[in-house]
């Protein structure tokens, strides 16, 4: 069972890297979106630091949505989804493995470059640490919640726009706690309670996202 899941994650990572920037598209989107803000708002450090947490989080949410649309679509189009549904293990584990692969390929790079963009947005010290921790704990939930939208949108045309409408409202809890953690640290307060709540949101997302995406895909197979 573990071997199957590792094989699946390896394949999805491999495909993400080879698909000519499929994986990096979300990361580049994240970087470009954040870089636009100092240009638009002006380089005044206090202003930038005040909006930094919100800007970085919203950019991360958008990066997640941008990279989600092919999560199940590609496997559906070429018939692989049938083969995956017929692997000798619960289909929900297959779905969860694909979500994890999506996070590793598309959102972990966002977490990795976030401190540099945070510095550019004039976050410092504890706030910068809180930002990276919050993204690390919060972004896995984005992949799993996003999977619900990606599964529902399988087989639809213009799925991308529909996907953002479906998924972005569901990202609000992660956005609120994620921003609160960074803001708390910036004010010299302890971000830990917010981070714990954020991680709770992620765990909830893993359970609900896997179950709902599995149900939607099974409906699609029928």
């Amino acid at each position: 069972m573990t071997r199957t899941l590792i094989a699946l994650i390896k394949r999805d990572l491999n495909l993400a890297w080879r698909q000519g920037g499929g994986a990096l598209l979300g990361t580049v989107f994240f970087a470009v979106a954040v870089v636009l803000f100092p240009l638009g708002v002006g380089p005044e450090p206090n202003t930038l630091a005040r909006i930094a947490a919100g800007v970085l989080w919203v950019a991360a949410l958008l990066a997640a949505v941008v990279s989600l649309d092919r999560l199940f679509e590609a496997d559906h189009d070429d018939g692989s989804l049938d083969g995956l549904a017929l692997l000798p293990l619960p289909f929900s584990l297959v779905v969860a493995a694909k979500c994890l692969a999506h996070w590793l390929a598309s959102l972990l790079p966002v977490v990795i470059i976030s401190p540099f963009l945070g510095l550019m947005m004039r976050l410092e010290g504890d706030a910068l640490v809180a930002l990276v921790l919050a993204l690390l704990l919060g972004t896995p939930g984005l992949s799993f919640i996003g999977a619900i939208g990606a599964a529902l949108a399988v087989g639809l045309r213009r799925a991308g726009a529909l996907l953002s409408l479906l998924v972005l409202p569901l990202y609000i809890p992660a956005l609120i706690f994620g921003v609160a953690a960074v803001e708390a640290a910036r004010m010299g307060l302890d971000p830990a309670p917010h981070l714990m709540l954020l991680f709770g949101v992620t765990l909830f997302a893993v359970v609900i996202g896997t179950a709902a995406a599995t149900a939607a895909l099974k409906f699609d197979l029928e």
């Binding site: 094989a7 049938d82 000798p88 029928e222």
Partner: protein, 213 residues
Amino acid sequence: MADSLVASKVTARRGGRLVFRDLDLAVFPGEAVILRGPNGAGKSTLLRLLAGLLRPEAGDITRAGVAIADDPESHRADLHYIGHSLALKGILTAAENLAFWAEARGGDAADAASALAKTGATAFANLEVRRLSAGQQRRVSLARLFVTPATLWLLDEPTVTLDQAAVAALARNMTDHLAAGGMIVAATHVELGLEGARVMEMAASPYDAEAAA
């Protein structure tokens, strides 16, 4: 209990349309059933039902006496389903595609080469699948039958786009599989010359005609 695949009184409906009603089918080791019938008769639907991808509206499908809905995982572990779509990734090579399916089904990635040899796909094992012709892609897809051993093969129009040599190779592989105690249900209009294969004629859904009248 000996292996078997039995469908009894199965009724299938897709998208609100009744495809067939009270269908019976039984396959035992060493046997093949060839599904024939006009387009829309429900051959693909039946194969998807037998795989467990669809659920029948009524009736039972059992594997070795156990309802497949009760133990889907052991049923899935011992079957290969090859549908219309190839289930291959265009940007991976033939060998990489097969290695994935081998590993995912609990086999060994090293078995990919021998699986490709079975369907005459060795020559283009290291080419990206998108660079292959339709028939070559079909050969690679059929090689999935050999990445891990499975008793039951469910084949939906496996000969589409294959050349004569590849069809003959497929027939040979199917004969060998039956001789080794395998079970096959295949929808095909090509005469494969399998010994002991039963042909099941599926009529066009009478309910369509009724609705049209």
